[in-house]
């Protein structure tokens, strides 16, 4: 049942969550009360019924806003996979649903980490509909699908688990490479919609920041592999259009997480990555993850994450793995970051021959064409 609604009232009265940031609010024309029909990515108008684990919701501006019982929120229907918090599915029941993520993802709780309290409970009022009567979905407002660009250097950030230090590593490397003169994109290809990582990338100075929400997904958990690959390519494509020569791509959670594991197991996806960072909390998880990556034929360019803060853990891992360990300060240092990129390129049989950020040092050596602002990577003869 679709009822006409006062779109302006919804736009004004509700707290619109970060996941809805791409949606033009003037597109809202009605409300579908049949909330059980919600699909992943649909926009849901809901009322806060009980405050639980998430006491705040992140607004489209990236500011966390305190929630009060009775608040109206616009959130996106989605699943969540978070070993430290909740696992939930992208389904809604009229009698109530769960706020699975502070970025604004609503679904149905399946499992919770024992340390988590009950989720914040929402009463879905309806699905926001457009003038055609269809539920508004994030995919309708996503970036235009694009192919990945040639010539861009792509570095993946993987980790042992949630909160291993991937985002910090990607942000710091984005900062270091930016200071080294590169135009860097920081992207998140999998995960659950939230502002934390996006903000961290912006704060680091990345020239282009986007995540899977920009590719039309509230969460990538349980999304088809092909959709994730297409989303990754779209993000890379737009990063290329934004003039970025290097893209850092975070893959959420650990290497065993279903979608991340499938991406890394896909040779065609691995071929997109010129280098791989691996973040771990401790030496044993470093050893396990590095062994897993090496089993896939991937030699991590650098070991990072929380482990890097512990000299003893670094010593343990160093003895076991013979791998460079870099902490956040090292990754953020332009000399180190520039050398890391050069090593990654060299490992691919490539050489960075020109990386002028649009100035005097145009042109290239070795016959490769490259415009200002581009890092031109050429295969060594």
């Amino acid at each position: 049942m679709i009822v006409e609604t006062d779109a302006a009232l919804i736009a004004r009265a509700a707290k619109w969550a970060f996941t809805t940031r791409r949606v033009d609010r003037s597109a809202v024309a009605g409300l579908d009360r049949h909330v059980a029909a919600a699909r992943p990515g649909d926009l849901v108008l809901a009322r806060v019924e009980r405050i639980g684990a998430h006491k705040r919701v992140q607004l489209v501006t990236g500011r966390p806003a305190a929630l009060y019982v009775g608040d109206l929120v616009v959130v996106a229907c989605g699943a969540r996979y978070a070993p430290d918090q909740f696992e939930g599915l992208a389904t809604l029941a009229p009698e109530g649903a769960d706020l699975l993520a502070g970025g604004g993802v609503v679904g149905t709780l399946r499992e919770a980490n024992a340390r988590m309290g009950a989720p914040t409970r929402l009463s879905p009022i309806g699905l926001l509909c457009g003038r055609d009567g269809r539920a508004i979905n994030l995919a309708d407002h996503a970036l235009t699908p694009r192919a990945r660009p040639d010539g861009m250097v792509v570095i993946a950030g993987t980790g042992a688990a949630m909160n291993a230090g991937k985002t910090t590593a990607i942000a710091c490397l984005a900062h270091g490479l930016t200071r080294a003169g590169h135009r860097v994109a920081a992207l998140k290809a999998t995960g659950t919609g939230a502002c934390g990582d996006v903000n961290a990338y912006h704060d680091a100075g990345a020239a282009y920041v986007a995540d899977f929400v920009d590719a039309g997904m509230a969460s990538t958990y349980r999304e088809p592999h092909e959709r994730l690959v297409a989303g990754l390519d779209t993000l890379l494509g737009h990063a290329g259009r934004a003039g970025c020569s290097v893209a850092l791509v975070e893959l959420a959670d650990g290497l065993f997480q279903r979608e991340t594991a499938a991406l890394m197991a896909d040779p065609a996806v691995r071929a997109r990555f010129d280098g791989v960072l691996y973040a771990a909390r401790d030496a044993a998880s470093a050893a396990g993850g590095v062994a897993l990556l090496r089993g896939l034929g991937i030699e991590p360019a650098v070991l990072t994450g929380l482990i890097a803060a512990s000299p003893l853990a670094v010593a343990e891992a160093g003895a076991a793995l013979s791998l460079q360990v870099a902490d956040r300060d090292v990754l953020a240092d332009p000399a180190h970051a520039g050398a890391l990129l050069a090593r990654i390129l060299a490992g691919r049989g490539m050489a960075a021959v020109d990386m002028a950020a649009g100035g005097a040092a145009g042109g290239t050596v070795g016959g490769a064409a490259g415009g200002a602002g581009a890092l031109t990577a050429v295969r060594a003869a």
Partner: protein, 334 residues
């Protein structure tokens, strides 16, 4: 000329030795080159404290040598930019009255005696004629006693990069990279900076470095091998970017008579064995080593210029043609 090449013991094959045009040795009285001579033999000119009060105002007009020029077109002003914050660098800026907004800045790094103002003055007339700004940063002795190694405590390389960023915001450094010239300890700094941050350098000119970080496996700072303790990472970092460094147009210069070690020359058996005992031998060996490394990568060789008549004396090097080399190297920038 031929003798100069023959006397470079490391040179078995043609690294180009260049005697630049003597024209620049004829700077008229009162020009910076002339002022530089006051430093005397074996001295980098000592300009005293380089802060603004020494010139009485924040703007000190200067005139380029007027020979053959209209005068106004080559005029420049000099001013001191104070260090920003506790770790910032101050700099003398010599800015043409008619700057070419697209022309790269020349950054001239002083030696161990820190003749900052003279660095700016020395290159300013020629630079101004091409609409180019000269920047002479100061690594003051208290805060930056080991600036020439670039990566010692305090990280002179990052302070220098920050200065370039700040000056870029003021419109004084167009583009991401600069032409970099260093004299003596400044040449040590310049080549190490360029090896760590090749993207910030468009053209590199080294004059009379005391010694070099060679493109070999000796432990850093003598080579690109892993050093001890705090020096551990830097050699491998530079090794990773060696290809980018060698792709720069590099000119290595040294006075023809800078062939006797003095009290400032670092000496130890390993260094002497690797690079030779004096600056001229060391420059020649460095040029030869860079040439070998460049050839292996299919890159052009660096240029070696042995400056006729000059000892370890900035003014004499300038008189023998350092200026045109720094501003207009033989190879076109990439």
């Amino acid at each position: 000329m031929g003798d100069l090449v023959a006397n470079c013991p490391a040179l078995g094959h043609p690294v180009r030795a260049t005697a630049p045009s003597p024209a620049v040795a004829m700077a008229p009285s009162g020009t910076p080159a002339d002022a530089g001579r006051s430093g005397g033999p074996n001295e980098e000119p000592s300009g005293g404290r380089s802060g603004a009060p020494s010139v009485g105002s924040s703007e000190a007009p200067g005139e380029a040598p007027s020979a053959g020029s209209s005068g106004a077109g080559t005029a420049f002003t000099r001013r001191w930019i104070a260090p920003a914050g506790r770790t910032g660098l101050g700099a003398w800026i010599a800015q043409p009255r008619r700057p070419d907004p697209a022309a790269p800045a020349l950054v001239a790094v002083h030696g161990i005696k820190r003749g900052v103002r003279e660095q700016a003055a020395a290159f300013a007339p020629l630079a101004a004629a091409a609409g180019r700004t000269v920047i002479a940063p100061e690594f003051d002795a208290l805060r930056w006693p080991s600036f020439q190694q670039a990566v010692r405590r305090g990280r002179a390389d990052l302070a220098f990069a920050r200065l370039l960023d700040d000056l870029g915001l003021q419109g004084l450094v167009p583009g991401p990279s600069v032409d970099l010239v260093g004299y003596s300890a400044g040449a040590q700094f310049a080549h190490r900076f360029a090896m760590l941050h090749p993207q910030r350098v468009r053209r590199l000119t080294l004059c009379a470095a005391g010694w070099y970080t060679m493109p070999d496996e000796a432990p850093f700072p003598y080579g690109l091998g892993a050093g001890d303790g705090a020096a551990a990472p830097w050699g491998p970092l530079m090794q990773a970017r060696l290809g980018e460094y060698l792709a720069l147009p590099i000119t290595i210069t040294v006075g023809a008579h800078d062939d006797v070690a003095d009290v400032h020359t670092r000496r130890n058996p390993a260094l002497d064995g690797q690079q030779g005992q004096d600056r001229r031998t060391r420059a020649c060996r460095y040029a030869a080593a860079l040439e070998r490394a460049a050839r292996q990568r299919g890159l052009p060789a660096p240029t070696l210029a042995v400056l006729p008549g000059a000892g370890h004396d900035f003014a004499a090097c300038l008189a023998a043609g350092l200026g045109p080399l720094a501003l207009n190297a033989r190879r076109q920038p990439r």
